[in-house]
């Protein structure tokens, strides 16, 4: 109904072509090493995801927010950020935490809610957090993390630090109050934030077409004076490139970007297989490496799951810690 604003191209940007080659506009900064790392990480994410789906089905963990088919959007964006940057996941971005250095076992401890979980077993699975890499503790409440990411970026800008933040969310979250207030603050403060909307077409059972009547999700950037970009969310190279660009602009004081990563769905495009095709075309991959990777990844996942499966539960008394910096008198009484 609405014509597109010119900043928001109607078709999502892509980089990977069907024959496995890369659009030269995006090829520049992708070394062999990084290309392989992205692929390996997506394979790990997929493998872990499938294992967690099983564990959830069998009742070993209470829930799991699967990212099958969304690995390219998640990993590509994470890979584009700098070490000092902050990352705010929504529910499906465990792969971003792992990319930034969260150990597999730590994530398993989180899912099982063990005593060795960084969150002391307090949270239902997903999203995890990892302090050492500034992957922040976010709630599963849809959208609430968006203003937090803006606040961090704004603070960094006030402090003149070269720090940006990346916040992930689904297209359903664009309907939330926090999307609006967060991005509006981002526009006004020129906070260096990259807002990555994974448009997978669904919020539980609700299709994107009932989520909003806007022409697409990236165009909502116009309402905040932000740049809006659509990218092929099954194309890890395109996502990497677009997020890098957004980060660079943000750091240069040009403001934030709302990126809509359009996820076709794994039944239509498998982002992992697609990247393998590219590695093969590039000559960096072969059946032997694939076999080794798969074996390795499975073993890593099993080791992590095994470690967490047997691990101790947090003790009852831990409930009363961290409500405040020090236990208040009522918590002392209740912990007795």
């Amino acid at each position: 109904m609405q014509p597109l604003a010119s900043s928001s191209p109607p078709l999502p940007l892509g980089a990977l072509r069907d024959d496995g080659s890369i659009d030269p506009a995006h090829a520049a900064a992708l070394s062999d090493e990084l290309a392989v790392a992205l692929y390996e990480h997506m394979v790990l994410a997929r493998s872990l995801d499938e294992r967690l789906i099983g564990l959830q089905r069998d009742g070993h963990i209470a829930s799991h927010a699967s990212a099958v088919g969304e690995e390219a959007a998640i990993v590509g964006a994470a890979a584009a950020m700098h070490d000092d940057d902050w990352v705010f996941p929504s529910s499906r971005e465990f792969a971003a935490a792992l990319w930034r250095g969260m150990p597999l076992a730590a994530y398993a401890h989180h899912c099982f809610g063990t005593a060795r979980d960084a969150g002391k077993g307090r949270n239902a699975p997903d999203p995890p957090f990892w302090k050492a890499a500034r992957v922040v503790s976010c709630s599963p409440l849809v959208g609430t993390q968006i203003p937090h990411a803006v606040g961090v970026a704004w603070a960094a800008r006030l402090r003149k630090a070269d720090v940006a933040s990346l916040v992930y969310f689904g297209e359903g979250a664009t309907s939330s109050a926090d999307f609006h207030t967060g991005l509006n603050f981002a526009g006004v403060t020129r906070a260096p934030v990259v807002a990555l909307c994974r448009n997978n077409g669904w919020a539980i059972s609700t299709p994107a077409s009932r989520q909003t009547a806007s022409a697409n999700f990236a165009i909502k950037a116009v309402a905040y004076g932000l740049r809006g970009v659509r990218v092929d969310g099954a194309d890890v190279v395109a996502v990497l490139s677009v997020v890098r660009d957004a980060r660079a602009r943000a750091a240069a004081g040009l403001g934030g970007t709302l990126i809509e990563a359009v996820i076709p769905g794994v039944e239509r495009v498998d982002p992992v297989a697609r990247m393998r095709t590219h590695l093969e075309a590039r000559g960096s991959w072969d059946a032997g490496r694939e076999a080794r990777l798969v074996t390795e990844v499975r073993a890593d996942v099993e080791r992590a799951v095994a470690e967490a499966t047997g691990a101790e539960r947090p003790g009852r008394e831990t409930l009363f810690d961290d409500v405040y910096a020090d236990r208040t008198w009522n918590l002392k009484e209740q912990s007795a």
């Binding site: 307090r122 059972s205 409930l319 209740q334």
Partner: protein, 319 residues
């Protein structure tokens, strides 16, 4: 209980075409707990509406629908997600009748699953009832069994005031029992004495009622007879029934999942002080969720289960 609630909705939607259901995923799939299953098939897109993901929008738009003359029954997918709608509920819904001198009442029933016990962690387990009871203009209901669920929901839909209808999700499927067919109401504002007893009054509602009963069964073995009151309507609470019971027993224990401090238990203790002080033979005791967020792994340590209620009952009885 899921079936009973579904029955009630269907019954009222058939009876009164002003009744509309709206919320996240309430349509074709029938909600994440399948409470609205089949309604979309029967009543269609115009009366069973999947909304965008905004609780504030759901309640805000429902207020408009109510002003127009419809009777919206919005669903908040989990009561932990009700806070984005808190402003619309407390600032608008609760105050519309009053501020308009009675001319613009906005009647609706906000349904939402409440409480712990499904391994949901911090954000799928909360019990925010006292945050609404404090706000004048709202009625608050929480059934403990299918029969009451149906009867109270129908009564809530017909009641002229806005009602928050909390559905204890832990017993969505576990709570069984005959449900009367067709028209069936349970009056708002009336508690049920589910067991008579001489020694201690135990006040509970929702899923914790069963814990109170289990504790009472144990206490009985020690010769302590509990009178168990299922409040059913939290506000306006059935003060007569509960005060009469405490006058009889002289002792009270109140059980709820929400954190103790400023929970509804505090109000019940204060009310009993005001109305039955001379009859109190022991200090009223609250067995509640702790003053912490709701935990994942330690859920069963957090909840005020029978093993925590029992010692409170015994100590109160022996005081």
């Amino acid at each position: 209980m899921v079936q009973a609630i579904n029955d009630a909705l269907r019954h009222e939607m058939r009876r009164d075409d002003r009744v509309v259901v709206l919320g996240e995923d309430v349509g074709k799939v029938g909600g994440v707990f399948r409470v609205t299953q089949g309604l979309w098939d029967e009543f269609g897109d115009d009366r069973v509406v999947d909304t965008p993901l905004s609780e504030g929008g759901i309640v805000g738009a429902a207020i408009g629908m109510a002003l127009y003359g419809l009777v919206p029954v919005p669903e908040i997918q989990f009561s932990d997600f009700i806070y984005p709608a808190y402003d619309q509920i407390v600032s608008e819904l609760a105050k519309l009748r009053w501020r308009s001198g009675g001319e613009y009442p906005a009647k609706m029933v906000v349904r939402t699953p409440v409480g712990g016990g499904i391994r949901g962690g911090l954000y799928h387990s909360q019990s925010p009832e006292s945050l609404f009871i404090h706000v004048a203009g709202l009625k608050v209901v929480c059934p403990s069994n299918p029969q009451d669920a149906k009867g109270l929901l129908i009564a809530s839909i017909r009641d002229p005031d806005p009602v928050l209808f909390f559905e204890p999700k832990r017993i969505y499927r576990a709570a069984k029992g005959e449900v009367p067919e067709g028209d069936h109401t349970v009056p708002i504002g009336k508690a049920a004495v589910v067991r008579e007893g001489r020694h201690v009054t135990v006040l509970a509602w929702g899923a914790m009622l069963y814990e109170a009963v289990a504790a009472a069964d144990e206490a009985k073995k020690q010769g302590i007879e509990c009178e168990i009151v299922d409040l059913r309507t939290l506000w306006p609470v059935d003060v007569e029934t509960l005060v009469a019971s405490v006058k009889k027993t002289g002792r009270m224990v109140v059980v709820h999942e929400a954190p103790k401090t400023c929970g509804f238990g505090a109000e019940l203790v204060a009310l009993v002080n005001e109305k039955a002080f001379e009859h109190l033979e022991a200090p009223p005791v609250r067995v509640c969720g702790f003053d912490t967020p709701f935990p994942y792994t330690l859920e069963m340590d957090y909840l005020p289960l029978a093993h925590r209620i029992l010692p409170a009952v015994v100590a109160t009885a022996k005081y």
